[in-house]
Symmetry: C2
Subunit: 248 residues, 2 copies
DNA sequence: GCCGAGGTTATGTATATACATATTGAAACG
DNA sequence: CGTTTCAATATGTATATACATAACCTCGGC
């Protein structure tokens, strides 16, 4: 939101030159005016078109390149890229937020908590090398009276020692961790499963009913922190992911 | 498989100053050395630390701000941001690619094709105003001998007129559209459902078996282009989404 | 003690300049 | 004719500089 005035008389809000170049070019690409493979004008041509310095044009083009809309080749110029794969941004909110967004009262329940040396399965899930101690948690999240999600979580105590002293009666492990541990990477796996008897009981649904499972593994500065599996009854939950080409 | 490349010590390739500043600062944030809320050094201090111009520092910090790692406030400085919600990048590939990545032969089959004025349901799915013509397609994608995915698609013929002349016997609508229509936005909905009789027959599974459904709506320059629903048998498919703090 | 005016400060944007680097196309050479 | 060399070119990165803008602080008037 910047305030340098553009010379154009068409009266929109004041855009910085930088942003004007960015949106002009994305426009032309996304509208199809410049098809994939098309060579977009050289920096010095855009410099003339927008009556600005090459630095400004360069910054805008570099940003488009980083966003994946164009590809730049030395000596040859810049070219509109062919889309290769759809990439969408999936926002994964705290469950409390999701429930409250539905207008329902949220309740959290800790079902079980065990501290133990990591089993082979724990080590697979967390991608741990050593058999250090882990904390295994089982929880339920309610929307109104109905169970909304079932949570199975492993916390690597070598990475988050203070979790050993927390009972997780009042606060859910998700928010507790977020407030304490800076995440640096995460991997999500999303799939459909049939509810086994344990999950069916926990979510108050029929065994064999379809469920959406979201698993997340989190690292902080190379150390595995936590693995969590959320299971939602099919009717209760839809994940939404959006893609819009970034404009900076 | 660490997803974080830290460039410690004298290590490998020469990094540009810009990138060195970027990764240094992300390091310190992600490792927790600089906690959320911490004020990171002023531009002029970093200028001194790295012995470079303010422009270089500014570019790096602006990028970190755009990536959401820090927040910049005029006159006050730059601060490490508290993570608000997990955002992950979900890559949605062409089905042929996914099948071939599994090492299985890919086959495509067009099941049905109807051209019609859009029904009320079509208009809801496509977010259309008028009752213009649409093309409704039903297809199957095979991995080896087994059905891998079932596809139900609507194409807005007002936006993609030439689709009316394409039979889609040889080429799947996904790649056909991608090659022709520049996408500008897309929305994905992901959920678990129980297979109805039709889907069960198409995927050769039991009715009631859990399936993963991915629906995608695509726009091009404000015009709805297509709505597609992919249904995968539970065992056949897992979506993977990654989050790594962007380093530019 | 309240409140507004104005200065200070850090960031935001833009310019002109310089040199590095990768790549291409053509000239020079064996 | 094929290969090497070299200059031209477009991008990549960095510098010094300038001025705009928002926000905070202090000071002074009442």
């Amino acid at each position: 939101m910047s305030m340098i005035q553009t010379m154009d008389a068409d009266g929109g809000e004041p855009l910085s030159l930088h942003q004007r170049i960015l949106s002009d070019i994305s426009e032309r690409i996304l509208s199809g005016a410049w098809a994939p493979g098309h060579r977009i004008p050289f920096e010095h041509e855009l410099t003339a078109e927008y009556k600005c310095s090459r630095m400004t044009v360069n910054k805008a083009l570099s940003q488009l390149a980083k966003a994946g809309l164009i590809e730049r080749r030395r000596r040859s110029g810049s070219f509109v890229r062919r889309p290769q794969s759809q990439a969408a941004v999936l926002e994964i909110h705290d469950i409390r937020i999701e429930v409250e967004a539905l207008g329902l009262p949220y309740r959290y329940e800790r079902v079980a908590r065990h501290k133990r040396r990591s089993s082979a399965e724990d080590r697979t899930l967390l991608e741990l090398d050593s058999n250090g101690p882990v904390l295994a948690l089982e929880c339920r999240h309610f929307a109104g009276k109905r169970p909304f999600a079932h949570e199975q979580r492993l916390i690597n105590l070598a990475a988050v020692a203070e979790a050993a002293n927390e009972e997780f009666f009042a606060v859910a492990p998700g928010p507790w961790l977020i407030a304490r541990v800076p995440w640096s990477a995460a991997e999500h796996r999303i799939r459909a499963v049939a509810a086994d008897r344990h999950i069916a009981a926990a979510l108050d649904i029929e065994a064999g009913a379809p469920c959406l499972v979201v698993e997340r593994r989190t690292w902080s500065a190379e150390h595995p922190v936590t693995h969590v599996r959320f299971t939602y009854a099919a009717e209760s939950h839809t994940l939404v992911a959006r893609f819009t080409p970034s404009q900076g």
